[in-house]
């Protein structure tokens, strides 16, 4: 059986990151946009953990921990803003938020 190298993990990470980018591109609903952002963060986490593991270093895991902490706080603040916006307007579509006509 073929051995799993660092390249495998990096390609998987790029594939997941591309899926997240597709989500960012095609979503109109802000909640779905948050889901796509989570996918992006997770793809980067895999890359960090794989590089750290293959070079025998702990730094990659440390950065993955901080990314998870950042993702958690992003969800808390972003969802609070989203709930507030939904209470006021009844919509969470991105196109309804363009209040500045330039």
């Amino acid at each position: 059986m073929m051995e799993i190298t660092l390249q495998h993990y990096m390609i998987l990470s790029v594939v997941l990151f591309a899926i997240g980018l597709i989500g960012v591109m095609r979503r109109k609903n802000l909640l779905m946009l948050f889901f796509a952002t989570e996918i992006l963060l997770n793809a980067v986490n895999i890359a960090f953990a794989a590089i750290g593991s293959y070079y025998g270093d702990m730094t990659g895991q440390m950065f993955a921990f901080f990314i998870i902490a950042i993702a958690a706080s992003e969800v808390a603040v972003g969802l609070g803003l989203l709930v507030l916006w939904y209470k006021r307007t009844g919509k969470i579509d991105l196109d309804a938020m363009t209040s500045m006509r330039g």
Binding site: N45, S53, D57, Q61, I68, A72, L79, L84, L94
Partner: protein, 186 residues
């Protein structure tokens, strides 16, 4: 054995995230995202980062997904999500970025031949112990800053989703009273 596990979980994760991205139903997207998060923790276990895998399950599927589930109770999730027809410039630019990333990934080993481990793992020490040793010596200040950031996020969440937030955030109390008095005079 490792290859079988890697390919299985790679396919499962990719399929789950594709469902998340492509479905037009919010509940399916949430469930598929939660499943994908759990499958991703398998990669961390495969890589020997046990503590990170446990944190992935606890924080993502425990905290983040529960938060999303609570948030979705506010929204109308039975309605299908309307898709956006984006401008071709944006799609062109983002596809260019994705292609550039693939090139960078494939050329990275040429450049990174002389990388040495800054904090190498010690033999005979478990992963959780090693994480603790590095986190509380070399990364103590980022750890504390992350704690403060989580505190700020918690307070922000409480304030934003609180009961009195139907009113304006920027107007102070006496200004609102002034406006009310002006309305009464009119």
């Amino acid at each position: 054995m490792e290859a079988i596990a890697f390919y299985t979980f790679a396919i499962l994760t990719t399929v789950m995230f594709l469902i998340t991205v492509l479905t037009s139903h919010a509940l399916y997207a949430l469930s598929a995202l939660a499943a994908g998060m759990i499958f991703i923790s398998a990669f961390f276990f495969l890589l020997g980062a046990d503590f990170l895998g446990a944190i992935q399950i606890i924080v993502y599927t425990g905290a983040v997904m529960a938060l999303y589930a609570f948030g979705m109770m506010f929204f109308d999730t039975t309605r299908d999500v309307v898709e956006k027809r984006t401008s071709p410039q944006l799609i062109f630019g983002l596809s260019g970025v994705a292609a550039l990333m693939v090139v960078a990934i494939f050329t990275a080993p040429i450049i990174s031949g002389n990388i040495e481990a800054l904090y190498p793992a010690i033999d005979g020490v478990g992963n959780s112990q090693m994480v603790g040793m590095v986190l509380f010596t070399k990364y103590l200040i980022p750890f504390e800053v992350a704690a403060i950031m989580l505190l700020v996020a918690m307070i922000a969440g409480i304030v934003l989703a609180g009961k009195k937030m139907d009113h304006s955030l920027t107007l102070m109390q006496d200004e609102i009273e002034c406006i009310n008095e002006e309305k009464e005079q009119v």
